[in-house]
Symmetry: C2
């Protein structure tokens, strides 16, 4: 019996993608072995690798100027690898700080080179409740790149229109909202996303990179950390995380099967509207700290009147078959993560529970 999984990541995955993995876990397509036992240079794995890239290219409409890379180490490794590749000595990069993860990205960039803060939405108590407006950005027109975090899992904020950064390359950590809707990839020089929200298990990171930019990347760093190494070898320079990429392929095939990113966007917006509608209907009970224009459609955060009620909410939801609702350890409250695998029906079940909870405790 599967529960309704609102985990913030690693997150729930579409059941058909998991069933497909289970059914062929011991014998992949009659080959007599698991996909994870196949050589990464054999034709069976190669077909999976190629299909994962072509599905992603098709779904996102990735132009020829860009290339898909499979990397490892999660977004946290990219916090270092991005400046190692794109921030030469003497240059400076701009960071827009909208939460813990963009702050960590900036802190790590400082270990590599010069990284400015172009804007920060941090409140005096360190929380973030909104995305900055264009006029707040103090951008350096000579910056090597501008870095932003497209969705902030902890605070529940999300960029809904991209900033104008002129000719400066735009780099985005999209770990927590990659593939939530159609995205104009051509606006970005480098997109990176850990798989474990919308795409697959932890252990693989997807990058969508502008080819000219990665070719010009720094060469005075170890070969394994150069994006050009992975680009030139189609992400097969060394053994990639084959099982994780295979699972991403299964998820991408599911995305295509249900109707692609326009369909996911419709579902994701419906899920968000159901939840925010319920919060706004009971503002005295459910308190959403996030500015309306900055609300995330992936992580809906709110608090109840007391920490005790927060706890009771989580405990009773769990009894009702819904898990993963506890807010991030440093901020408390409730967090409903509504990644692509969470269905509209799952959210309707939660919304009914929220209505019932406010009736009993409001």
């Amino acid at each position: 019996m599967r529960v309704i999984n609102f985990n913030a990541g690693p997150a729930g995955l579409p059941l058909p993608a998991l069933e497909r993995a289970r059914d062929e876990l011991l014998d992949f397509q009659g080959s007599g072995m698991s996909i994870m036992e196949h050589s990464h240079r054999g034709k069976e794995y190669d077909a999976v690798h190629t299909e994962a890239i072509s599905l992603l290219t098709e779904l996102l409409g990735i132009p020829d100027t860009h290339q898909v890379l499979f990397l490892t180490g999660g977004a946290s490794q990219q916090f270092a690898q991005v400046p190692m590749n794109f921030l030469p000595p003497g240059a400076s990069a701009d960071y827009i700080l909208t939460g813990v993860w963009s702050e960590k990205a900036h802190e790590e960039a400082v270990t590599v080179g010069k990284a400015r803060v172009a804007a920060s939405t941090a409140l005096p108590d360190k929380r973030h409740v909104r995305i900055p407006r264009q006029e707040e950005l103090q951008l350096d027109p000579k910056a090597a790149y501008v870095h932003l975090t497209s969705n902030n899992t902890i605070y529940g904020t999300q960029w809904h229109s991209w900033p104008d950064v002129g000719e400066v390359p735009l780099v985005a950590d999209m770990s927590s909202d990659f593939l939530w809707k159609p995205t104009d990839v051509s606006r970005f020089a480098f997109i990176y996303a850990g798989a474990q929200k919308n795409l697959g298990p932890s252990g693989v990171l997807i990058a969508v990179a502008r080819k000219d930019l990665i070719a010009r990347g720094r060469k005075d760093i170890p070969k394994i950390f150069r994006y050009s190494t992975h680009a030139e070898n189609n992400s097969l320079y060394n053994t990639p995380p084959t099982l994780a990429i295979y699972l991403c392929r299964n998820v991408l095939a599911w995305v295509k099967g249900v109707g692609g990113l326009p369909r996911l966007e419709r579902w994701n917006r419906e899920k968000g509207e159901l939840l925010y509608g319920t919060i706004d209907k009971h503002t005295g009970f459910y308190r959403g700290p996030v500015e309306k224009e900055s609300r995330s459609y992936m992580n809906v955060v709110f608090t109840l009147p007391t920490p005790e009620l927060d706890e009771r909410f989580v405990a009773e939801a769990k009894k009702a078959g819904m898990v993963g609702l506890k807010g991030y350890r440093t901020v408390g409250g409730i967090r409903v993560s509504t990644y692509n695998a969470v269905t509209v029906d799952n959210v309707k079940t939660l919304v009914s529970f929220m209505e019932e909870f406010v009736r009993k405790n409001g």
Copy 2:
């Protein structure tokens, strides 16, 4: 119908470890979700993580001076990360070159700092067919560390007694023979091994590190690349590859169940003796290039009288249900990888095939 899998890596895994994964892939221990859908900070995954570390500690007899780390990026990333941590400016490290992978480790170390070649067994044609003797090692007593590759997958050589490196920390890439037999961990400052041979799927790397050495590691590198970061956070600094670690746990539980490393060593030696015995019996037909004292018990390499016979051998073995026998792309011939999941019976089947093949073609 499972085939007999002699792949060099990613390699075959023990069937019980895979069956366990399949049986609970949609619902891990009644939790209503897959292990890959669990939070890496939840109690379900934490129990798996802890068990994987304690099984490895028990099986290898890891002393309190050392700590297990789960890292990513494969051995190729360690080629850079080892010198980043342990090779300060002005210092020098010693590399013993016994094959392609130790050469790559050395090449990458040179991008970080000063790395000497303490010995190389490369022949004029670049092949390696043996492990160097102690008296061949030109060790620098002031070296930051000495690096070796314990088993050479491509050339089929393996260290059978560790070199005396005095007080200099010994670092070993054990990717292709980790856990093949009991190993005195205390002799090593840092052991690293990609999982995809003896331990699990690709996508996770296991390190066994001397605690004092990693605590003293360089701090002027990005935080994500410091071993101390991962040591201080029990390999949970950022989201680890949870599914891959879970599969390693399954394999480690299987190792313990069959009798631990002494049992694996007995099986591995029997497998090697069966294969080398057959080669030595038909020296005019099967030619093993490796010096006897340096023969690997993980990768048995040999050639047949002609490349056409090599090809026929691989093709007919495949028809007989045995795959993964083709030699490495740059060296040709036959390679039989006999990692822990390959049974003595699997090897007996191959040996019968080899006898039959020599009768028909010799």
